[in-house]
């Protein structure tokens, strides 16, 4: 297969009609959520009090919060104000990329499971387990090596530890689903609570850093953390980690589209009976995809420890849940996850900018997240909106937890 063939092949898959519609729906969902968010900001602005001077006026009415400012800060602020002339690689943009990097991994984690027809809500727990294992593993290993060599050795080692433990933790719901027929939505939710609880117990007990008031492990030495290149380390971002993330995007895309294992996973996701017929071992595929999914979540945890905190602390932010949003917005496509992760990185990083720049509560972004998922889940709604528009006839596909199998096919069979 020549490179040109390969490119054409990849392109033809990208330009697939359903992919186009996915992108349209995701974009529309985003825009609509932002609009509703704006209304929410306005309404909230009526419910709070402020001086006349602080108020903004729309439609002849005064509001305490200005949605234009909110979204300006949310988006442009997150990019480090690229048009202001004061852009710096150490600014907010680095924070955005840091968040995006973590979301890449959790998004891929959820997307992989989704493609296999499994709803992994447990990425969060897998991330916690991976993070704790990495913090402890690398701490132990950092006594063996040091310096640049230490960095070169310890970072892959830390990622591996995170992947292995996250993977093992992901395998648990996989095994439960495959061999005990236990619903993975419930088991993964429970395992999230368990991971958080056990981590809290360990970190507040035997693994607690004696020199800290917080529940955290002993911090890792500098050389055992991701190095800051190009971007200053002030924002805890390393371009190396982002490159790992992009590599993971490409790798997962390749695995899903070009390998027999990926074919097994995708077939199981859309039509398990057909997969079984085609010689796919359903149980093994379930366990393997959840293990791999957990490994990606575990890597996110490792990144969080080795790039952001430098230690394990309880109360890891909800990257795992955001990963669900990222994946759903991306239509569970690895390449789409790349874009959606950047977008959500902007939202997450913009949240803090909004918090500093305005009085609008940052939880707004949480609402936006929910709205986006809600809208992406209902393509039918947009189809209704688009009815009558030219080209609205293309065949739509709902995002679905079962990978999108549709109950009624065959249609008009008279049998």
């Amino acid at each position: 297969m020549s490179a040109a063939d390969r490119a054409r092949d990849a392109l033809s898959r990208l330009v697939d009609a359903s992919a186009t519609e996915r992108i349209l729906i995701s974009t529309a969902a985003l825009v609509l959520s932002v609009l509703i968010g704006a209304v929410l900001v306005l309404v909230a602005g009526r419910m709070t009090t402020c001086t006349a001077g602080e108020a903004v006026y729309y439609f002849g009415t005064g509001f305490c919060y200005d949605p234009v400012v909110v979204f300006d800060r949310l988006f442009l602020g997150a990019l480090g104000d690229p048009f202001s002339g004061s852009w710096s690689p150490n600014g907010q943009f680095a924070v955005t990329l840091r968040e995006s990097t973590l979301l890449l991994f959790t998004g891929l984690s959820v997307a992989l499971a989704f493609r296999a027809g499994i709803f992994n809500i447990g990425t969060q727990g897998q991330m916690v387990v991976g993070a704790l294992a990495t913090a402890l593993g690398v701490l132990w290993a950092s006594s063996l090596v040091s310096g640049t060599l230490g960095t070169v050795v310890l970072i892959p080692f830390g990622l591996l530890v995170g992947a292995v433990f996250g993977g093992l933790y992901g395998a648990v719901p996989g095994l439960l689903k495959a061999y005990a027929d236990a619903n993975e939505v419930i088991t993964t939710i429970m395992l999230n609570f368990i991971a958080t609880g056990v981590a809290l117990y360990l970190v507040s007990g035997i693994f607690k850093d004696p020199n800290s008031a917080a529940n955290q492990t002993v911090p890792l030495p500098e050389f055992a953390q991701f190095p800051a290149l190009l971007f200053g380390g002030r924002q805890d971002f390393s371009i190396v980690a982002l490159l790992f993330g992009l590599l993971a995007v490409g790798a997962l895309y390749y695995v899903l589209e070009h390998t027999a294992f990926g074919y097994d996973v995708r077939t199981s996701g859309v039509q398990p009976e057909a997969a079984e017929y085609g010689g796919v071992d359903a149980k093994r595929t379930v366990v393997a995809s959840l293990t791999l999914s957990g490994a990606l979540g575990g890597i996110a945890g490792a990144m969080y420890v080795m790039m952001v905190l430098g230690t394990f602390q309880t109360g890891i932010p909800a990257y795992g849940f955001d990963g669900i949003t990222v994946s759903i917005l991306a239509g569970n496509n690895p390449l789409g996850v790349g874009i959606a992760a950047l977008l959500f990185g902007v939202l997450k990083s913009g949240t803090t900018v909004v918090q500093f720049a305005t009085d609008v509560p940052p939880q707004l972004v949480g609402v936006l997240r929910g709205l986006i998922i809600l809208f992406v889940a209902m393509p039918e709604f947009f189809r209704l909106l688009a009815r009558g528009l030219p080209g609205a006839g293309s065949k739509p596909k709902a995002v679905a937890t079962d990978g999108g199998t549709d109950g009624d096919r065959g249609g008009e069979a008279d049998e």
Binding site: M1, A274, E276, Y277, G278, D281, R409, E412, D414, E415
Partner: protein, 542 residues
Amino acid sequence: MATAVHLDGITKRFPGVVANDDVDLEVERGTVHALLGENGAGKTTLMNVLYGLYEPTSGEVRLDGEPREFGSPRDAIDAGIGMIHQHFMLVDPMTVTENITLGNEPRKWGGLAVDRAGSREAVVDLADRYGFDIDPDARIEDVSVGEQQRVEILKALYRGADTLILDEPTAVLTPQEVDELFDVLTELTSQGKTIIFITHKLGEAMRAADEISVLRDGRKVGTVDADATSQEELAELMVGREVLLDVDHGTAETGEVVASASDVVVEDERGVRAVDGVSFEVRAGEVFGIAGVDGNGQSELVESVTGLRTPDAGEIRFRGEDVTTASRRQRIEAGMAYIPEDRQDRGLVMEFDLVENGLLGSQHGRELASNGRIDWPKTRGHAEAIIDEYDVRPPDADAEAESLSGGNQQKFIVGREFERDPELVVASHPTRGVDVGSIEFIHERLLELRRQGVAILLVSSKLEEVQGLSDRLAVAYEGEFVDVVDPDETTEEELGLLMAGERPGDDGGGGGGPAASEGGDAGETESDAPTELTDAADGERA
């Protein structure tokens, strides 16, 4: 006699399809009227119009001379029409009484509670009036298919139906249950009910109906009096040409045993023995057929041969090895091809295009992939070759499987499986729901493989198909093989009796407890000497 139902010039169009084209139908009160036609002829669509599920594009429905418009089944029910669907509309975990009264429950306490005693009484009364044998307190999931059907009929009667539409009511019944059903129909018409009965089986139409209307390609091609017609006439009306269902396949030159089953037992989800000690062997270059009414263990047997199920006892051997617990993948790789009975659930991934579907089952093989990496250009070429060779239309490898018609989907599956270069082909209902042209094509291909020395295990409920294609024919009844016969030496009447569970040599004692059959004994049968070969046009008569 009065006309109870009059459909006047009904046309129903769906995007791209005309399902009914100017159909006129008049049904007399107190009669059974059969609506006969091949799958896809538009019978069900026409009845869905009468039942208010579809609104006709043009034309009119008249009941007792009155023009009626039905916006929903509710309207049709109110007008005294009841429909018994092919797939029963019953709620499995609920009782017979609960199902019959569903939506019209007798109430008490000002509607705050269901009058349960009253419901039961109403159901018992109704069943008594029409002489139905049912248990009002049994759960649907615990009663037989025949009883479920009676519940469906009672449900319609409970709602005051005067006209009953039965959609392929015999498809799921044993011959005995069919007899019972026909008795019920007689009883109903004698009490003034009108029956419309959808079927594609000539014999049943002639047996049960007073009048028969034949549909073909959405048009009505004629209405005949059941007493004044012949099966040949009906068959010709149905397909529009003389049907030649007898395939001349010559004698088999059989080789060694390719696959065998011995004393296989399979329990279904409820723990009932769906397959109860079946043994057989299939040799290279022969077609081993399994005939029988659906639901006599054929599906479970096939699934244990192909690896979708592990039998609870017994042994499956393939190419000299014990594969009883081997995975599906191992069996594919060892050269087993499989045309599954449900192409839309198993045979094809409906959302995938044909390129990807052509890979199904071969993704771990060496032809189209290497070291776990899929060779897409090669896979595309493979799919295109199948499309070309097996005349799949439209000839577009990028078309999604779900966009193809049933016949073309089936041809693609057949092509994919035959191109595996198999040692054994397991073909389960290979022509179900497929148009006549494709049926012949698939039959020819199957026989061609046989000539090449491939072993073929063929399961079909179409008697003319298994009889015409098989070299040896087993008849399945209640999970056992009643007998293995030479299809050329056996009459349809004999096969019909076997399918009803009557053992050769039995004095018509009924299908009570057939002993374990001795499979694999090529051609040697215990049946009576062949009497005469009848016209093969109707294989459906049981």
